[in-house]
């Protein structure tokens, strides 16, 4: 534990320190043309295709979409955790603080994971080791990445548990996960993920498994910690209500592609891609008399059976012949350059737009 190695203090505050200092305005994370493929039935099929987005310091980008749209695969690709047996990042770049993660070896990637980029998962009930105490599991990341001694790490872990608002953290430090509720476990997961003060947090549906009141508490906690730590966050969810409360920008994904990306207010005010529009329309509202829920007909196409042309075309109410013939590009709207849409009809390349 106490083996040599340079002392690591605030070596990655967003600006300066070891590594490539990132100048203001340069995004902390830039995903460029990411392709992640899986092997199914003998062939490689992209689960994520040509995905590009950037996340600025302190920014929260929400990725929304139905199950199976490639949201989680995108996050796993950034973490370098695509299962090597049947998956791989097949193309593109993942630039994080000036380095291309897609080109890094496993050993270098391991130093970044849990330290500079962290991830929290959907299932707090099963994401903690049942035979190790809460305190040990939170302290472990600090011991591992920061070469802290056990006492020092335990003290820091206790502080973290206080920060994520575990009641009487000192008494509960030596408790085991089964003595915690789901919401409390998710707080512990957050404490573990934030132990090393990462610059980027990937949150993969962190509130989906929690009941609604606990969801709100955990979201508030995440927002508070994000502000306190100055982290960037990629928040994956299918819950648009959550998006509205936490995100700065939103990317809607469908069948492995980003179909629309825009600042959150812009997206809610003016959903332009038919998929986003239908997604927003399908939110049940408490302030209206709803007899039936609006649903999008059909299903996300299987990974091995992608339609040609626009992937949403088979389910799209606006479908025209061009949609099934050629892939639409992701293009900015003419009057809003930070609002990009992938649709032949709503955002034709080289003009038009949805004014």
């Amino acid at each position: 534990m106490s083996a040599a190695g340079p002392p690591r203090g605030a070596n990655h505050a967003p600006s300066g320190g070891v590594g490539v200092p990132s100048s203001a305005g340069e995004p902390i994370l830039a995903v460029e043309n990411l392709v992640t493929a899986f092997r199914t039935g003998g062939g490689w099929h992209p689960a994520v295709r040509d995905v590009s987005f950037a996340v600025q310091h302190n920014e929260t980008l929400a990725i929304v979409g139905e199950s199976g749209c490639g949201k989680s695969v995108t996050a796993l690709s950034i973490m370098g955790l695509v299962p090597p047996a049947n998956g791989r990042v097949a193309g593109g770049h993942i630039r994080f603080a000036g380095r291309d993660l897609a080109a890094l070896g496993e050993e270098e990637m391991r130093k970044i994971r849990g330290d500079r980029i962290s991830m929290i998962f959907q299932e707090p009930m099963t994401s903690l080791n049942p035979v190790l105490t809460i305190g040990f599991q939170v302290a472990e990341a600090l011991q591992y990445h920061r070469d802290m001694g056990r006492r020092e790490a335990a003290a820091a872990a206790l502080e973290l548990l206080d920060q994520v608002k575990i009641p009487s953290a000192r008494q509960r430090f030596a408790d085991y996960p089964h003595q915690f509720s789901g919401g409390m476990r998710q707080r512990v997961m957050i404490a573990m993920a934030l132990a090393c003060r990462p610059e980027l947090l990937l949150a993969d549906e962190p509130t989906t498994a929690l009941d609604v009141t606990i969801q709100a508490e955990v979201l508030a906690l995440l927002a508070e910690l994000k502000a306190a730590y100055g982290m960037a966050m990629v928040f994956i969810t299918h819950n648009l209500g959550v998006v509205a409360s936490i995100a700065d920008r939103v990317a809607a994904m469908y069948a492995g592609e980003i179909v629309e990306i825009a600042p959150v207010n812009e997206l809610f005010a003016r959903p332009t891609h038919p998929y986003t529009e239908l997604l927003l329309r399908s939110i049940p509202r408490v302030d209206r008399d709803t007899v039936s829920l609006a649903a999008i007909a059909g299903q996300v196409p299987a990974i091995g059976a992608m339609p040609s042309g626009c992937r949403f075309a088979p389910r799209c109410p606006l479908r025209e012949p061009v949609c099934t013939e050629r892939d639409p590009p992701l293009v900015p709207l003419r009057d809003a350059p930070d609002h990009q849409v992938r649709c032949w009809l709503r955002a034709p390349p080289g003009g038009g737009g949805h004014a």
Partner: protein
């Protein structure tokens, strides 16, 4: 948990929860208690051998050869006039040391192989486990013969032979739960925290499977005592005049027409220890039965 911890509690390293659970389930089981008590009694007698044995185990008394039980020699004497009780007590030390050391070695080596194979998976797993199957195909006596033929008869080589026999079963018993545990979400979470494979295997997987290995170890301890006796019986074990249980049975066998006590008492001793360890192991196995851990 304690109410008023004045200092920050130090994080435990590993398996305490699994062990807690094991002891809780274990304490409800009467048979395993009987087994444990008998076994500990034998261990105590073996440890106290220098103090309580009535004679030196190597002292010969040619005038008192092959006697039956008497007030002077409770269990009688052997063909050199040595006191059987004293030799049994001293022999217990050797039998216990040999079985414990060899099983410990098998647990460590076999357990490491099993966890590694289960964790890495794929072709590596296949090759390693096939090698284990090859090892498993040698009966313990044949393994003993081979080791002794190659290295010579000695206590150390006896332990090597027993350990070689037991490595493959421990590799199997460690591999199966490793394959289950490595797919759990918390192992994925460990990867997301950047932990090394070695750390994941030793700190996160091992404590989850340690109970299974312990149960197996208690059962194999009995087997090791049996193997030691068998190998000593056919003359592949510890050299005379040192007392071991298997060696004593062999000497008793040679003189069985003149005196039966030299055959009977060491056999009873082996029976008692094997029986107690099996009761202990069965109790432990019941304790980790999945239906007992349902509330996890």
């Amino acid at each position: 948990m304690s109410g008023d911890t004045a200092t920050v509690p130090i994080a435990p390293r590993g398996s305490s929860y699994a062990l807690q659970q094991l002891t809780r389930a274990f304490s409800a089981n009467a048979t395993s208690w009987i087994g444990l008590v008998i076994f500990l009694l034998v261990v105590a007698l073996a440890l106290l051998a220098p103090l309580i044995s009535p004679y030196d185990p190597l002292d010969q008394d040619i005038l008192a050869r092959l006697q039956g039980p008497s007030a002077a020699h409770w269990f009688g004497t052997d063909s050199y006039g040595r006191d059987i009780l004293s030799r049994l007590l001293w022999g217990a030390r050797l039998s216990l040391v040999i079985s414990t050391v060899s099983i410990l070695a098998a647990v460590v080596i076999g357990g490491a192989i099993g966890i590694l194979a289960g964790y890495v998976g794929g072709r590596f797993d296949m090759v390693v486990m096939q090698a284990m199957d090859v090892l498993l195909s040698f009966p313990s006596l044949i393994m003993g013969l081979m080791v002794v033929a190659m290295l010579g008869a000695s206590m150390g080589n006896l332990m090597i032979a027993i350990a070689l026999t037991a490595i493959a079963p421990f590799a199997r018993i460690a591999r199966a739960p490793t394959i289950l545990v490595k797919e759990r979400d918390y192992i994925e979470a460990c990867r997301a925290l950047g932990y090394s494979d070695l750390r994941i295997m030793t700190i996160h997987i091992l404590p989850n499977i340690v109970a299974e290995i312990l149960v197996m170890a208690s059962l194999w301890l009995a087997t090791a005592i049996r193997i030691e006796a068998s190998l000593s019986f056919i003359g592949l074990g510890v050299r005379p005049p040192t007392a071991t249980w298997g060696g004593m049975i062999r000497e008793g066998f040679e003189n069985i027409l003149d005196s039966v006590s030299l055959s009977i008492f060491p056999s009873l001793a082996i029976l008692l220890v094997v029986f107690s360890l099996n009761m202990l192991g069965d109790g432990l196995r019941d304790a980790i039965d999945p239906k007992m851990r349902g509330g996890e």
